[in-house]
């Protein structure tokens, strides 16, 4: 990781942790901000896909589809930002989906590690059960603004901490014959 990336990763992590704490302190006001962030994420995904098309995907067989998808996602981002009220249930479905995928992946990893008698399987299993439980929580409380904000904030907090750790992580990329 370059020095610039380390610094940006550190400050981005700090910002995410700070935002997560703010959200949990005022969950009722935070929902509109959460939704704004999610719309913004859609917008930036569109921009990133345009960049991807012009640098890489234009060389790919069938790569034009990437350009079309970029246009649609970018447009959806603009549309979502303009919407005065975003249905809460979509936020909860989104949160449930990402936690469910992470949970299932961790459980599968735990099973594989256990088969190989690796000691890390317990940690993976705990991680998997935790993520899957959060996904179920999202589905059971799909109408609760507070739960939505708390779960989103927890994810934001976790990602922020990971970014800060990565900023200080030793780069292991040198091999000597």
């Amino acid at each position: 990781m370059t020095a610039v990336k380390r610094v940006s990763s550190f400050f981005a992590g700090l910002f995410m942790v700070y935002t997560a704490i703010l959200f949990t302190l005022a969950p009722d006001d935070a929902l509109s901000l959460v939704m704004f962030f999610m719309s913004l994420a859609l917008l930036f995904t569109g921009i990133r896909m345009f960049f991807y098309y012009f640098t890489l995907a234009r060389h790919k067989t069938g790569g034009l589809a990437v350009l079309y998808r970029a246009a649609v996602i970018f447009d959806a981002g603009l549309f979502a930002i303009d919407l005065p009220d975003f249905p809460l249930v979509y936020v909860m479905i989104y949160l449930a989906a990402i936690h469910a995928v992470a949970g299932i992946a961790a459980i599968l990893k735990a099973l594989e590690s256990k088969r190989l008698e690796a000691p890390s399987w317990k940690l993976n299993l705990v991680h998997g059960i935790g993520s899957t439980s959060i996904a179920l929580l999202c589905l059971f409380y799909s109408k609760s603004v507070r739960i939505a904000v708390y779960i989103y904030s927890a994810g934001l907090f976790y990602s922020g901490i990971i970014r800060i750790i990565q900023a200080f992580r030793k780069t292991q990329n040198i091999y000597v014959q």
């Binding site: 640098t55 995907a57 790919k60 067989t61 961790a106 990893k109 190989l116 990329n173 040198i174 014959q177």
Partner: protein
Amino acid sequence: MQKDFHYYATYCAAYLAGFSHEESLAVCYSAQFVDECSLTLLKKIGAPQNAATTQLQMELMNARTDLIGRQNITRIWSSFHFLPVDLYVHIKGGRLYRDRYRLICGPNGELVEETVKLAKNSSLQAVGIAMHVLADTWAHRCFAGTPSLVINDTNADFYEVDSENNRKRIYFYENIKAGDNIEAGKYIRTVYHTDENSIMNLGHGRAGHLPDYSFMRYVYMPAWGNYEEVFKDNPAEYYKAFSQMVYAMRYLRGEVPQFAKKRYADDIIEPYEAKIRGILSRRQLDACKDWENFGTELSGREIPPFDIRSFQTEYLNAPPDKKAETDAGRFFAAAETQKGMVTDSIYASGNLLAGFSKRVRGEAK
């Protein structure tokens, strides 16, 4: 390629190259162990983690795909399973595309020559690793050992070609439990993922196990091919792989003075040609039994089944100062050397996808 070729066929090739039964077993065990030596296994036995030669499915699922994570993945998969054929090939496009394109695997490149020469005067474990790498350059031709949708993706234009050159459509699906069905022409492959760097786009995941089946003859349209089809005749190419392995091992034994690209040991294996081609062409998902029978016929000795625990037990039971002298210790040392050589070469070509090389940077200064 899979265990049938990396273990049993490699045993046959080693024996035909002049190795004894015991030496051939050591070579083929290491060749197969390349597909087993994961970070999880190394951590478990306290071996050097740099020696990882593969990644388990779940390790891959959890692997980071940021720059550092991708470099780690690329070092492993390019060094042992998808050896780049030409690191300096000219191609239209910016650096981002060019770097990926240059990691496409293929036989008879400069790096395969380096790989074989690296194993010269080294351990039998190093020979086994080199044979795994060499064999995979044939099976994994046209795919790259780095996660990349623009290189490794495939589309619906995928056909099996029979001996009369008739095409039969191949259907892919993602039901892992169901497995591959040769008769129905249905095969599993990784899930389509739009993220360029997704682990789903590593190697031949998007073409399923087809490149690893020796009987398979197929036509498809690679993502990098500019809408042109590629025909892969596995029985013919695997035969060349086998012949080249025998030639390479004869060089490693000192029976051939020089190792040169595009040279084979067809004269040595000619008496067995019909037998070998028969095994390679048989429509089956696993040819272990056929190769095992052939190996037993050749040496008159029994070939024990591959046991992943052999290296582990030996390494764990050795005292700390003797671990490097075990077969497993020699395997790990050879794996690190091979990975270092490939990483250095990729870095020296100006390509950062496999990370930095301190040695190359030091020499440049």
